[in-house]
Amino acid sequence: MERSDSELIAAVLKGDIASFEPLVAKFSPRLFATARRYARREDEVEDVVQEIWTKAFQKLSTFRGDAPFEHWLMRMAVRTCYDFLRHHQRNRENTFTELTTEENDWIERVATTPADTSEDSNAAKQLVQRLMNMLSPPARLVIQLLEIEDKSVKEIAELTGWSVPLVKVRAFRARAEMKKCLARIARDKYL
């Protein structure tokens, strides 16, 4: 019979380390999906998820069971991804001189016929990635959680460990930063 998360956790805490594997198998897809939003290369993605699981194992005794294990794990995942962004921020792209022809065409279509321009195109997805790579780590995290994943300020505060006022301040700054980046695209495109 399949054991519940709390039963598996209790077994691990009693010394049965093998009971940790079903938890890894169950929640790794979600962790990989999360890590892929912040890291570009597959080796970096795997490193981030490995670090999340290592921390989860080390700190398993601090899991109180008030909320589902997945919530506790996702908090750890978001904070680990944020640390990853901070450590890798020197690699942030800061130029739009290498926009592809597709991306240029897509931006032009948005400017001329926004209603007819599809968001499903590869060019749109590439542009989003470029834009996110330009943002500072806190801005990127807030935009990802607030605007793309549509989480509330309170949820973001719980995930990141920031206070609600700090989330609001960072959201305000992130939106301003994003506007600046978009203005640069528009300026570079139309100059």
Binding site: F20, E21, S28, R37, V110, P114, K125, M132
Partner: protein, 97 residues
Amino acid sequence: MNELHQKLIAAARRTAPDERVPYAFEKRIMARITSGAHVDTLAMWSHALWRAAVSCVAIMALSGVWTFWSATQQPQPDFAQELDSAVLVSASPDVVW
């Protein structure tokens, strides 16, 4: 620019999350955990130092109690009399220096 912003956010929302897990990833995690490579040195030192601090406080408390108890058991010396004895001993003819 607002349209551009909205279109880009909409594009990001429509991008389905990629939940692929690399082959044998769980095995690698378990191997890492069971090999002891997961040891958190900082946490280990932190636990050890906290335990040492608790022991030190306990020893300090016991020492304080023992000192206080010892002081109450012994007769209190009369310092005035002892000072007189110390000063007058030099004037005593019985004492040979």
